[in-house]
């Protein structure tokens, strides 16, 4: 992929920032420097307005009423689905299942697909850098079924050993569930290769794209992905809405997790039949406003342009890696080369505990995350209990990275 520089492509950070009301906030009497985007992103006015317009002008349940408001709400909800489908280049809108987020999407697969297709003695391949939400559901499935989990060899920078991976497949390998971008190391995994190798063994792949889809152009058909999970709130959308993308045939064969309204065809006293995709997997009244907000978020990202977003973040990441690695006593985790990674930068400052770093940066108005980032096995592999983590998005600037570097230097001096 040729990534244009943000200068050439013209991502105008000042104009982008003006679209995000919260970025004008002060924190502890300092301008907010928001570098916790891997936890959740901020929302542009377009998304906030879409939510308000729904609630103020056409709030209604969907697929039920025959009245005007319900018809409009239904149309907007389905339009959001179609836009999300286009955003990831799904073959059909009904391959986009709305969920609460990545966690629910993965659990949906672990239950609805896993319980049907994974049994005693079967194997699921994972990596040690998975977020707990792409780890615990598989442990639960393994416990229910007697299947086992195996870990794909990788180094401490999260680089997967593809040759070793290719040798792991056995007749009982049923699924590969891997992250597309580590939320701790920033490492971008070679998704296309991982999928291609798995498919040579007729094994489907679930991609945890919670950190990749917000930041990189992702084409699920080009990747030939089977399942892809992501969260709206990390890509400028509201909380409480996310997506399970699944290949039609796989979703069709899945059992629903939630029985209830909307997902049935005929209900009798002792049995029922399911309706078609996508509703079969969306039992109950969904997060209508959330889906509409996610549709607006996707529009916003497409207006800016995903290649431009990626290029801008790439440039900033490179800048941040250079600046921070020059700081005395700062240890950076993840790939050194910005080409192999996104803008998620975990670090350790001297022997100052990440919580102290987080508190000191917060006093400067800089929001970072400190902790295990829901990746305890990875923390163990890195030999730390926690890290501090700065994570970038389209509205961040080099000046903010400078603030971070200054804040880190001050934190270090404070504890010396």
């Amino acid at each position: 992929m040729v990534v244009p520089t943000s200068a050439a492509a013209g991502l105008d950070a000042a104009a982008v920032r003006a679209d995000f009301p919260v970025l004008a906030e002060q924190v502890h009497e300092r301008p907010l420097v928001y570098l916790d985007n891997a936890a959740t992103s901020q929302k542009p006015r377009a998304v906030i307005d879409a939510l308000r317009t729904y609630y103020e002008t056409y709030n209604a349940n969907i697929h039920r009423g025959l009245h005007a408001l319900s018809e409009r709400a239904t149309a907007e909800y389905e339009d959001a689905r179609a836009r999300v489908a286009r955003f990831i280049n799904a073959a059909h809108p009904h391959e986009v299942i709305f969920t609460r987020g990545t966690t629910e999407a993965i659990n949906l697969v672990a239950r609805g697909w896993g319980d049907e297709n994974v049994g005693e003695g079967d194997e699921i391949l994972l990596t040690e850098m998975e977020h707990h939400s792409n780890l615990v559901p598989w442990q639960m499935l393994a416990q229910r079924t007697g299947a086992s989990l195996r870990y794909i060899p990788m180094d401490v920078e999260g680089r997967i050993d593809l040759q070793a991976y290719a040798r792991m497949f056995r007749p009982r390998t049923r699924l590969v569930a891997v992250t597309h971008m580590s939320n701790v190391l920033g490492t971008i995994t070679p998704a296309a290769e991982l999928i291609e190798i798995a498919h040579q063994h007729d094994v489907p792949v679930l991609l945890d794209a919670a950190q990749s889809i917000p930041h990189l152009p992702v084409d699920v058909q080009a990747l030939d992905a089977d399942f892809v999970a992501f969260s709206g709130h990390k890509m400028l959308g509201p909380t409480g809405i996310g997506v399970l993308y699944g290949r039609e045939a796989l979703l069709d064969a899945m059992e629903p997790l939630f029985g209830g309204g909307s997902m049935i065809r005929v209900v009798e006293l002792h049995q029922s039949t399911w309706t078609a995709l996508p509703y079969k997997l969306e039992g109950g009244t969904p997060n209508i406003a959330g889906a509409i907000g996610l549709g607006a978020a996707v529009d916003y990202l497409q207006t800016v342009g995903m290649p431009e977003v990626t290029a801008h973040e790439h440039e900033l990441t490179e800048y941040a890696l250079n600046l921070l690695s020059d700081l005395d006593g700062v240890r950076l985790f993840g790939p050194k080369d910005a080409r192999d990674r996104g803008g998620v930068i975990s670090f350790y400052v001297g022997d100052v505990h990440p919580h102290d770093v987080g508190t000191l940066l917060d006093a400067d108005g800089i929001a970072v995350r400190a902790g295990h980032h829901c990746a305890q096995p990875l923390m163990r592999k890195l030999g730390v209990a926690a890290t501090a983590r700065a994570s970038l998005y389209l509205y961040n600037t080099a000046a903010e990275v400078d603030c971070l570097a200054d804040g880190i230097a001050r934190a270090k001096a404070f504890f010396e």
Binding site: H355, D356, G371, H372, M379, A385, A386
Partner: protein
């Protein structure tokens, strides 16, 4: 809210020069306290004699400046105290941190310096980890009729 509220000089002093750090020989209460949310860990050793006096206390562990200094301060506050007095100090500290009660400052000693942590709600757990661990240790020691106890405490 200022950083000085959190990182008082006394606290930084205990963090940089921890008192009573390292294992205690012949301890009859050995506790481990962990905060799974942030990975802070405290190991705590106590010597309680037959008369019910804490004749020795020490700690080790890793974690943030607040959790480590708080443990150091705590060992100083309870060494040489009869169990009833130790319980009173624990109640002072926990009351101050969790409920905002005014402590008996003389009894609590350097522990008073941690009061500012209350202005940083996410850090309160760091400060109380060692004290909760101590409380459980004393309670279990009493329940075991003075027998040696070795236990793990985990913040929820």
């Amino acid at each position: 809210m200022t950083l000085e509220d959190l990182y008082r000089e006394v606290i930084m002093d205990h963090y940089r020069r921890p008192r009573n750090r390292g294992a205690l020989d012949d301890a009859n209460v050995v506790m481990e306290g962990v905060n799974p949310l942030c990975g802070d860990e405290i190991k705590l050793w106590l010597n309680i004699d037959d008369a019910g006096v804490i004749t020795g206390a020490s700690f080790d562990g890793h974690g943030c400046s607040i959790s480590q200094s708080s443990a150091s301060i705590m060992t100083e506050a309870v060494i040489g105290k009869p169990l009833a007095d130790a319980h009173a100090v624990i109640a002072d500290f926990r009351g101050m941190m969790l409920d905002g009660d005014a402590p008996d400052e003389l009894r609590l000693g350097d522990g008073v310096a941690l009061e500012g942590v209350r202005k940083f709600p996410v850090r309160i757990k760091c400060a109380v980890l060692s004290w909760n661990t101590l409380k459980l240790g004393l309670d279990e020691h009493a329940a075991a009729g003075g027998q040696r106890v070795e236990l793990q405490h985990s913040e929820s």
